[in-house]
């Protein structure tokens, strides 16, 4: 080798056009569309996963003598999938050719509406999940009689003065009602936590992009 690397470096960069900066272009557009496409993919995969899970869960619970739990969960989850699939169709109405800012704002608006609807639904389906578990276990066969009745019998043996409503201890009904009320009350928050575990980073990224773009526009 005749030349040192230092001289190759210096001489090479002395030549005209050795350092031409590429044009900054379209980066935000690419990023916005990339992140929304990624979200769409994740959302679709999530819905498919829910369908598969609800089917598998129904089969397993039925085999294990808890068909009420399995069927209820299946129906609730399929209902959720149907609603979300319809909500997802709204995404197609967003103009893909709009500028990044308009595109992201439209997407964010859709996202917030979608989250609000799911938050409301969560206040119904979390209590329903719980009730289906209670009812499901109540009717599980326990040596010829439903487990619920068997349990009540055993409890009454220890506490014979318990007040019963249609054969169910009042204290049990009150406890279930409290839990159901709590789930109805905090279902929205539980949903938020749940959804942020899966999509949290993506939501932050979208907000970050919108903030950046707003700063650019100011």
């Amino acid at each position: 080798m005749e030349k040192s690397i230092e001289s190759i470096w210096k001489e090479g960069f002395l030549k005209k056009d050795a350092l031409v900066a590429p044009k900054i272009n379209d980066l935000y557009n690419q990023k916005s569309k990339h992140i929304v496409d990624k979200f769409k993919r994740m959302f679709k995969i999530n819905l498919i996963a829910i369908v598969i899970f609800s089917l598998v869960f129904m089969v397993i619970t039925t085999i294990n003598g808890l068909p009420i739990v399995g069927i209820s969960w299946f129906l609730i989850l399929i209902g959720l999938v149907v609603v979300n699939k319809k909500l997802m169709n709204g995404l197609e109405e967003i103009d893909y050719h709009a500028n990044s800012y308009t595109y992201l704002l439209s997407f964010n608006k859709w996202l917030q509406e979608q989250l609000a609807i799911n938050r409301k639904m969560a206040r119904i389906y979390y209590p329903l999940f719980f009730l289906s578990i209670v009812v499901g276990f109540w009717f599980v066969d326990a040596e010829g009689i439903p487990m619920g009745e068997r349990l009540v019998g055993e409890v009454l043996y220890g506490f014979p003065d318990l007040y019963l409503v249609n054969g169910v201890p009042l204290i049990g009904i009150v406890l279930i009602l409290i839990i159901v009320s709590m789930l109805a009350l905090f279902g929205g928050r539980i949903y938020d936590m749940d959804v942020y575990i899966v999509y949290g980073r993506m939501f932050n990224k979208i907000e970050e992009l919108i903030t950046d773009l707003e700063e650019l526009r100011s």
């Binding site: 080798m1 005749e2 030349k3 690397i5 230092e6 190759i8 470096w9 001489e11 090479g12 960069f13 030549k15 005209k16 056009d17 050795a18 350092l19 031409v20 900066a21 590429p22 900054i24 272009n25 980066l27 950046d212 650019l216």
Partner: protein, 163 residues
């Protein structure tokens, strides 16, 4: 990114970014992506600049961090970003500069490890050992030995290819 910020705070230092990005990419497309991402990160991080170091040092740091991050991402996703791992014979087709010797030097540099690439680029940019250590976040005592080793390796890789 405002054009004011780009023109006054990035463009005068574009050479630094361009030289480093070239060392971490094998195609023009990747190079432009890296360059844009670096510019964006500089703009995003501008408020974190505390003037404890020079603006150019700050730019070197961000450029390196972005290049290493993007390279890592691409490594994890080679199916989608296969261009970063072109076989040597294909990589050699990528002649970004008019100067053939410089193209050969870059090809050799791209065959070094990621950190060695950073070290030698900073050395060629006439940064002191202290500055190189500061930018990379290592001990300045080892930099000299490392540079000599890298230069030896480059000599072997360039043997017979430059005139």
């Amino acid at each position: 990114m405002s054009s004011d910020f780009y023109n006054t705070s990035i463009l005068p230092y574009a050479g630094i970014i361009l030289k480093l990005c070239r060392a971490y990419t094998n195609s023009q497309e990747d190079f432009e992506d890296y360059y844009q991402e670096v510019c964006l990160q500089i703009w995003r991080s501008r408020e974190n600049f505390r003037e404890e170091s020079q603006w150019s040092t700050w730019i070197y740091r961000i450029t390196l961090n972005v290049c290493l991050t993007l390279l890592k991402k691409k490594k994890n996703n080679t199916q989608h970003f296969a261009s970063d791992y072109l076989p040597l014979e294909q990589a050699e087709e990528n002649s970004a500069f008019a100067d053939e010797n410089l193209n050969e030097l870059y090809k050799a540099i791209r065959q070094l490890s990621e950190i060695d690439r950073a070290v030698i680029m900073l050395y060629l940019e006439e940064k002191t050992y202290q500055e190189i250590a500061e930018i990379i976040g290592t001990n300045p005592n080892n930099i000299g030995v490392r540079i000599n080793r890298i230069k030896e390796r480059l000599k072997i890789l360039l043997d017979g290819k430059v005139n």
